[in-house]
């Protein structure tokens, strides 16, 4: 039978058994998880996942059934059909972009992430993953962004601009290419192609 994929988010105060209830509901609908990512944030259970269901299953039925099964947990469910989204601006991919990691750390202050992400947007850089945490006791924060940087963007200049941007804020910024990070943190030998310029 034809399958259809949706993107779904579920939130609830964290308790034992949430995932079990969700998995049961999906099973009953003839659906299943494709891909998922879970985070417990301030004791709040949050999950985002790609799920698939038989193509004739109506989205409202899916959401209603999940809410019903998850009533004891107070699940908040949201379901989206990616096929219905308007096409966005194409982002650089494949040979036209390279992977970098950007780490920002220092004393927390408003607007740091705004200024960083604005600068990324100006360069056409796609942010593909993000992690951030703040130590409430010291007020220090740390954010890591995974970047897809289009070929031709001078990363050294980007780094210099970001240094300049936060010079007086006690915020440190480091941009590292993924293959460099791998080379300095992985004990396995560098993979070196044969021939000229080995």
């Amino acid at each position: 039978m034809a399958k259809k994929q949706y993107v779904m988010t579920v939130m609830a105060a964290n308790r034992v058994g949430i995932l079990a209830a969700m998995a049961t509901a999906l099973d009953e609908l003839g659906g299943g998880f494709v891909d998922l990512s879970l985070a417990i944030m301030r004791d709040y259970f949050t999950i985002i996942m790609a799920v698939e269901f038989p193509a004739d299953r109506h989205p409202d039925v899916i959401v209603d059934h999940l809410r019903a099964v998850g009533r004891p947990f107070g699940l908040e469910v949201m379901l989206k059909d990616p096929a219905l989204e308007p096409p966005g601006e194409a982002t650089a991919a494949g040979e036209d972009a390279r992977d970098y990691l950007l780490r920002v750390q220092g004393q927390d202050r408003p607007g740091v992430l705004r200024r960083v992400s604005l600068r990324m947007a100006q360069e056409g850089i796609d942010i593909v993953d993000l992690y951030g945490a703040r130590d409430d006791a010291t007020g220090r924060f740390e954010t890591c962004l995974a970047l897809r940087v289009p070929v031709g963007v001078a990363v050294s200049r980007l780094q210099a601009d970001l240094d300049q941007l936060f010079r007086n804020d006690g915020v440190e910024v480091a941009v590292v290419r993924n293959d460099v990070l791998k080379a300095i943190s992985d004990p396995h030998p560098l993979t070196v192609s044969a021939g000229r310029g080995r």
Partner: protein
């Protein structure tokens, strides 16, 4: 499939990332012109074209990776064979040709004016040595070198005696610039066939047309690692500190190799060797004296210095060797006094003298490098100091450099200031040898069995 792209290793500290030097070795051995002007023309064109492509590649790779390259050098294959049949004046023109190409391409240094004379001098090497003072006076970027001793050959005192005079003449010819010419003449021993490219010598025979070598910039990462460790654990053991130095050296080596290979790929060149030698950089604070302070030797040159250097050197070598299959066989600690503000301060404070530096070669320091000495030092004394250092090299088999700068008109304790990549310094006293009879005896000191 969604991927988590942030590895946990980024959540720990990223060391300072940079590359100390990238060196392009260019083969010019096939330039067969036997008349001066066509030869200079051909050499200029080749060196310039390749250097420009090289500097451009360094720029793109550095921008792309966001990793600075602190120095760019070019070495041509040793000129000894090309120089055959040319007189000193012609040789000056050849050296000026190299200097012009280097200036035009914005290189920091060009080498290749290198004479091998550990066994004996050919007529060409005599001519090349005779031309040295004029070359050093008339060029800005040419680093010259003479190998005057080696483990299998012993010490060639004929050359050493001659070089005492040439160093003095080079300083005199550049008296208006504090004798800087002498700083660009390296007297070497045990130049290894596989590099690293150092003080004017570069691997050549048995290498290809175009080769990219890199030098690791490990001082910053090592200092950061040691500092961090001591913050967390002020009583950290030597084993722990050695492990931290190894890790930092590993990371610095990996960065250098990644960058060097990327540049080689762009140029279609071979990738050569990674030079692990620990050296000061142009960045302030990146000096061996600060590292030793962290390790617990407060004054460089005071007791404990040699022991600490051994700890650093052995750890760097182990970390670097694990990081890359292509490390240069000789790993040293470079102590170029005029390029290292920390060493200059140690000489000012009186904890460091020429004798200390000479002794440290036993634990991997690379000889007596860029030391300003009194202007009235006699050629025989200069030769005797060189001979002593070369003699140690014959025994320990390590690559050794002697670059003494007799500063015209200055005596011990006076300040001197150089431009052109060298810093300020204080003229160091040199014990004089009144009786120069040994130096004037011609011949060679045989090797040690």
């Amino acid at each position: 499939m969604t991927q988590h792209r942030i590895p946990s290793s980024l959540l720990t500290d990223v060391p300072p990332l940079e590359v100390r030097t990238v060196t392009l070795a260019i083969n010019v051995g096939d330039l067969a012109e036997r008349t001066l002007h066509p030869l200079c023309d051909a050499m200029y064109q080749r060196v310039l074209a390749r250097s420009q492509a090289f500097v451009a590649a360094c720029g793109t790779v550095a921008a792309d990776y966001g990793i600075p390259i602190l120095q760019r050098r070019v070495y041509v294959t040793p000129l000894e064979r090309i120089a055959e049949g040319f007189g000193p004046e012609d040789l000056v023109n050849i050296a000026r040709t190299l200097d012009g190409a280097a200036a035009n391409a914005h290189l920091d240094l060009i080498g290749g004016y290198f004479v091998r004379a550990a066994q004996a001098m050919s007529s060409t090497s005599r001519q090349m040595i005779a031309a040295l003072p004029a070359i050093l006076a008339q060029t800005d970027r040419v680093q010259t070198a003479v190998e005057a001793a080696s483990r299998p050959a012993g010490v060639n005192l004929d050359v050493v005696e001659l070089l005492g005079h040439k160093v003095k003449e080079a300083a005199a010819a550049t008296a208006d610039r504090s004798g800087i010419g002498a700083a660009y003449l390296g007297v070497l021993a045990n130049v290894p066939p596989d590099g690293p490219p150092v003080a004017g010598s570069c691997p050549s025979d048995g290498w290809g047309e175009l080769t990219v070598h890199v030098s690791v910039s490990a001082m910053g990462p090592i200092q950061q690692a040691v500092k961090q460790r001591l913050q967390d654990d002020p009583r950290a053991s030597l084993a722990t500190l050695s492990g931290d130095i190894k890790t930092a050296a590993f990371q610095a080596t990996r960065i250098a190799e990644v960058i060097g290979r990327a540049i080689a790929r762009q140029l279609g060149a071979d990738f050569g060797r990674v030079d692990l030698s620990l050296a000061p950089t142009i960045r302030s604070g990146q000096t061996i004296t600060e590292l030793l302070q962290l390790l617990g030797v407060s004054k460089f040159g005071s007791p404990g210095t040699a022991a600490a250097l051994l700890l650093v050197l052995s750890s760097v070598k182990a970390g670097g060797a694990f990081a890359s299959a292509d490390i240069a066989s000789d790993v040293s600690i470079l102590l170029p006094v005029l390029r290292d503000s920390g060493l200059v301060s140690a000489t000012e404070a009186g904890s460091l003298a020429v004798e200390h530096l000479a002794r440290l070669s036993a634990v991997g320091a690379q000889g007596l490098d860029l030391i300003p000495v009194p202007g009235d030092t006699t050629p025989a004394t200069l030769s005797a100091v060189m001979a002593d250092q070369l003699a140690s090299a014959v025994v320990n088999g390590r690559m050794t450099v002697v670059r003494l700068v007799p500063v015209p008109g200055k005596s011990a304790g006076e300040r001197v200031s150089f431009g052109r990549g060298l810093g300020d310094g204080v003229v160091l006293p040199l014990p004089s040898s009144d009786d120069a009879a040994l130096i004037h005896r011609s011949g060679r000191i045989p090797p040690l069995g």
